[in-house]
Amino acid sequence: MSGVQDDKTSETGHLHAMAEVAAIDATEAGDAVPEAAATEGAGMSVDTAPSPWRRLVSSPVVMTFFFLAVTMVLFSILAPGKFGTTSNFEQLAQNVAILTVVSIGTTFVIATAGIDLSIPSGIVLGEVFALKALGLVTVGSGTAVDVASEDTTAWYVVVALAASLLSGLLLGLINGFTVGYMRIPPMLATLGTLGGGLGIALLLQNGVNTATYALNSVATGQVIPGLSNLVLIGLLVVGIGYVGMHRAVFGRHTLAIGSSEESARRVGLKVERHLLKVYTVGGLASGFGGFLSVAYFSTTSVAGHSTDNLQAITAVALGGTSLFGGVASIIGTLIGVWIPAVLQNGFIIIGVQPYWQMVAVGVVLILAIYSDQLRRRSRSRR
């Protein structure tokens, strides 16, 4: 693999070097065996063990998870038998599933130090494309749009899904091309596609919504008994996102570009092409979110997603993904999606004005970003 390995003198060189290392870094002699350093973060050398408190405040994921756990316990105590019930959780999980899917996609975008404001247009286009595709399938004297939810077939679902993903793909490619190749700042590029995409969706729909029950079973059915499909799909997307971000070379390169675009370019990563892919992932997630939305709500909602971009960005930031790029957490995003939902739901249950949720989320968001800043500052001061 490496030049070092091919070197015939490697064996002796190795031993020699080990002795050398042990002699010089006497304080860390235990770590001088490379295998030990490799298998168990043994290098936990004297100067890198932070206090538990510092670790807590300098790790946004841990902090927000802690916050979520505490609020859930509090609500369970304050509203016994109402908040902490399975049915309430099932309901919460369904409510956040679509936002989860979209937020996982945008976690990749934010990990590159980018931003995707076009999420609402991605979702609405996904809805409208699904609907238009169903409208192309003739059933009896009408189209698949009008079939009852019991009469739907896998074919209608596949057609609608393909159309939604196509719209997401197109939007993502445009975002990726403008950001990656035309070097337009992501906020402005996706502001453009936000407006443009919504405009096209409204044109296609003449500004009004259309109902359809053809996709209902996708969201409300249960492939696994006891678990609604919508929640199952959300979990699958989290799983795929986790592997994609934290185990795949794709995620590694995404983080490298977010960390230092110039360094990534110097080691030979194709930065433009990778950005194109990342924004395409974001677009696909939005389009898929639109498909799920029309399935779950049985109607398009051309005006109903205008703050979904901000909600997704909030969730991602709460979850400890750095808005400056280079650091991301898929599990964090999952936690970040739940926090606003749990607050909203809990406040309603215990009879507090639910508007407090907005205030609370705002405060937690600022704390999370402050914690990210602390982390960045402390790591680069040395």
Partner: protein
């Protein structure tokens, strides 16, 4: 790899009359440069002489406006650092080119990850190899291989960049002020590493402002001034005073290009 038997071996890496302009700044004005296999060639010159710019032309980061880059005597057209890497040319840049949020192993293998199932990376394997290479290379960087390199000291970060280059280099290694941020012990280790890489038969290009250090480790010294080469020496046949004279323009042994 070594061609010591040949009477006049082609340089492992060379620049011929390379020009490079940034806006109004003529950073390189017809500079030539040669690095031979199995030799340490020091490249020295005052701040702004164009050393880093020349290195970036040699490693595919910049494309020369005119002039040619040659590898083993053959002109090459490099459009990216990947082209250089493919020819076994590795570089430690003055600004290091690390991804600060990634850990040491991820940086060492960035863009060349060990893969599982084609699309996954094998982090434990990369971490093992990195630890081994650090030990092999005597970089003595026994640090937690899981923390982001941003939390390393400047010298440790430099060690990571050097280890990365030394690990992958097969033909030429370009080191732009590799010892600038290092303490005495680490500097000694890097100089030692440079000698060992040379023993492997590679061409080593070494930039430094520390002239005694240059004379200690280099076989040959090439001096740049205002974007051009002004002098060449065998390191046994020169001294610090002469090098200073060449750097400041008081001495030259180069026929004007």
């Amino acid at each position: 790899m070594t061609s010591s038997d040949d009477r006049s071996p082609a340089p492992a890496l060379a620049a011929r009359s390379v020009e490079k302009q940034f806006g109004q700044v003529r950073a390189l004005r017809g500079v030539s440069f040669e690095a031979m296999a199995g030799e340490v060639t020091a490249l020295i010159g005052d701040n702004g002489a164009g050393k880093s710019t020349l290195v970036k032309c040699l490693s595919g980061v910049h494309r020369p406006d005119s002039g040619t880059i040659e590898v083993d005597g053959q002109p090459v057209h490099m459009t990216s650092p990947t082209d250089a890497e493919r020819m076994g040319i590795e570089t430690v840049y003055q600004d290091l080119a690390l991804a600060p949020d990634l850990d040491a192993a991820s940086n060492v293998f960035l863009g060349r990850e060990i893969r599982k199932f084609r699309f996954l990376h094998d982090q434990p394997a990369m971490r093992r190899q990195t630890a081994k290479s650090f030990a092999d290379l005597g970089v003595g960087m026994v640090q937690d291989l899981r923390v982001p390199v941003a939390s390393f000291s400047g010298g440790q970060r430099q060690s990571v960049a050097i280890a990365r280059a030394a690990m992958w280099a097969q033909h030429v290694i370009l080191l732009d002020e590799p010892t600038a941020a290092l303490g005495v012990i680490q500097t000694a280790k890097v100089l030692d590493l440079i000698r060992r890489v040379r023993e492997r038969g590679l061409a080593v290009v070494f930039i430094s402002h520390n002239l005694p250090q240059v004379l200690e480790v280099a076989d040959r010294v090439e001096v740049m001034r205002l974007g051009a080469r002004v002098a060449r020496f065998k390191s046994g046949e020169t001294d610090v005073e002469q090098l200073i004279a060449a750097i400041s323009g008081a001495y030259t042994n180069e026929v004007a290009a």
